[in-house]
Symmetry: C2
Subunit: 365 residues, 2 copies
């Protein structure tokens, strides 16, 4: 039985790079059989139909699909009544509570002197993304308010996910015989509890409790005590990520900080066009390149498809298909290391097509 | 009549670097006469007395001082009942609504290939910093909420400040005969209106209106139309700041984004120990190094005093004493360019004292 994957290219370069990921997935040796289902979503769809994420798209994802991929969505340049970002809606609707964003340099390239091999584990359902906003007219002009929600439940489950990712990475390293960038599996909790003592205080305490309760109450049966834990205030986190990226293994953060951190980390590996993610729930995985719709280059056939290709592989990995995922990672790394077929974001002259061909060749597909 | 400056070293290295700034200010040729008034504040003070910012400190600042300097404050590692950051309280109490943070590389050092010369103009009174937080117990565990406030009034006045800073920089450049890093004075509005369409939408519209209303309604009498304006979504802003810092002149941002952005920009110039700021209201200026209390190096005499020295100069500049401020900037630049007297954060072996002496020497003091 084929895996059914809902495909939402959405806007801009999403439409150019998601089809590449689809073809690479189909042609990867050892990958499961796929059935790809194209599904409408996006800001352009909204401007045409008044709906950014159709009910039918959600229904199909929930009832028929085993997984999904999302491309990228355009941002309106003015407030548009009734519009709400489809990617944010999707995360909430499918309860994809963890946004997992690995950022890794490529051995053998100039990035090696500042080695980056980190995963941002971003809470994906709350914080300011609950989009509870109001505005009122006052004698002093308009005053707008947004609610930022941090719950023990969401913070705990994202904390667990971060420790799980840290352990899985450790295991993978020992399987591949590679050394950890940091000495040992580590989770860094990112917050701003020095100002937001209640909300970010709860986030910090909840993640700490994941480790503490695991090792104490379960009498050593849990494995989180193997993972080191430390913390960084978000502003200092961004600073240190740039100054000494090699000290970070897994970073867990509330939604908005995670959003910012993953773009910051992307700057370290040369291009947003390289950075993949999955939006993960307990029973559904959606791959998504971290980059946006890039209106300035859309339609020119020069968008970097690597973020999407890697996101496809990451989706596979999180669905349990580790072997074909590893094949794709290695093929991509090979192309990057060779350095002959690079899109303009990486300083090259290759097209989206060229990169697809190079990856397929490296895959032996 | 001497200028009265309230000095709040507060915690950690703040106590080591603020006295250096004080001595440099006193000894700068052409500077006004100063009277420095030591004032208590800080987290350590809180742990001893239960008060982080005494009423008397506020009273003295408001009634007696012409300006102030703040060092750095420690962050509690656990939630502490009744504690509220004194720096956040000071900004609110004195209505220091603009946090102005210039980040500039040093010509003639290795930073020159990625040239940074930008000013972060951070709104300093609202956003999540209003600290309106609640927490409740629910059947699913604790749920905490914080209110993020964005008002037309605060966004408009910070917008104006950003355009003023852009024009002042342009003027300074033409006076010094230096070229603009970007072609022309420019204000970049940083927001996340694609998700926070109401709050960040209001911020964006208010800043846009500052330019639009200035050039239209005042029939060209205003000068903001000379300044270019564009925008960046905050995640993409952090990314682009690292990839192409040279395209940013003045960046205006709501409070929390500004906090994160200034640390990001600091990473580009080699060290947080170099980055200065002023908290500016309509009639009061408070200098503040951007770095924290650095508990890991506090007490060792190796903290970099440059951020504080520059913050003293910036305070002078914003109080209208441009000439002595420029002398201090040039002395600091000279020391950095020579590169023989650098503290460990910059890869050197110098002490706080050594840097003070080198700056005083360069000042001809
Ligand atoms: C497009 C936008 C709503 C989205 C976000 O803020 O989550 C994007 O920046 C991301 O990181 O996936
Ligand atoms: C210490 C902290 C409250 C403060 C802030 O968040 O504003 C600091 O990070 C800063 O940038 O001045």
């Amino acid at each position: 039985k084929a895996l059914k994957i809902g495909m939402m290219p959405a806007d801009g370069i999403g439409r150019e790079v998601l089809p590449v990921a689809q073809r690479v997935l189909s042609l990867t040796p050892g990958a499961p059989k796929f059935e790809f289902i194209p599904l409408p979503a996006g800001f352009e769809l909204f401007t045409k139909t008044g709906v950014a994420l159709p009910e039918e798209t959600i229904r199909c994802l929930k009832e028929e699909c085993d997984g999904a991929m999302f491309g990228s969505v355009s941002s309106p340049s003015h407030k548009v009544e009734g519009y709400s970002s489809p990617i944010v809606q999707l995360r909430k609707n499918l309860d994809l509570y963890a946004n997992i964003r690995p950022v890794v340099g490529v051995r053998g390239t100039r990035d090696e002197d500042k080695w980056v091999d980190t995963v941002i584990v971003r809470e994906n359902t709350e914080c300011l993304y609950i989009k509870s906003e109001t505005i009122e007219d006052t004698p002093n002009g308009k005053v707008a308010k947004a609610i930022r929600q941090i719950s023990e439940r969401a913070s705990t489950r994202i904390g667990k996910k971060a420790f799980d990712v840290a352990l899985a990475r450790q295991e993978m390293r020992s399987r591949l015989g590679t050394a950890a960038a940091v000495g040992q599996a580590k989770v860094t909790v990112c917050h701003k509890a020095n100002v937001l003592s209640t909300t970010d205080g709860l986030f910090r305490e909840s993640v700490r409790a994941v480790k503490e309760n695991d090792s104490i109450s379960k009498g050593g049966a849990g494995r989180y005590h193997e993972v080191e834990m430390d913390e960084q205030i978000v502003d200092s986190m961004v600073y240190r990520l740039f100054r000494e990226p090699e000290v970070f293994d897994v970073v867990v953060a509330p939604n908005l900080y995670g959003d910012i951190l993953s773009d910051a980390a992307a700057a370290l590996v040369g291009s947003l066009g390289l950075v993949s993610s999955v939006n993960a729930g307990d029973s559904f995985i959606m791959g998504e390149p971290v980059h946006g719709s890039a209106p300035n280059i859309a339609g020119q056939g020069i968008a970097n498809p690597i973020a999407s290709i890697r996101s496809g592989a990451l989706m596979l990995e999180y669905m349990g298909y580790t072997e074909p995922a590893l094949k794709i990672y290695r093929a991509v790394d090979h192309v990057l290391r060779e350095g002959n077929v690079l899109t303009p974001d990486l300083g090259g002259k290759a097209t989206t097509d060229d990169v697809e061909k190079a990856v397929l060749l490296a895959l032996g597909a």
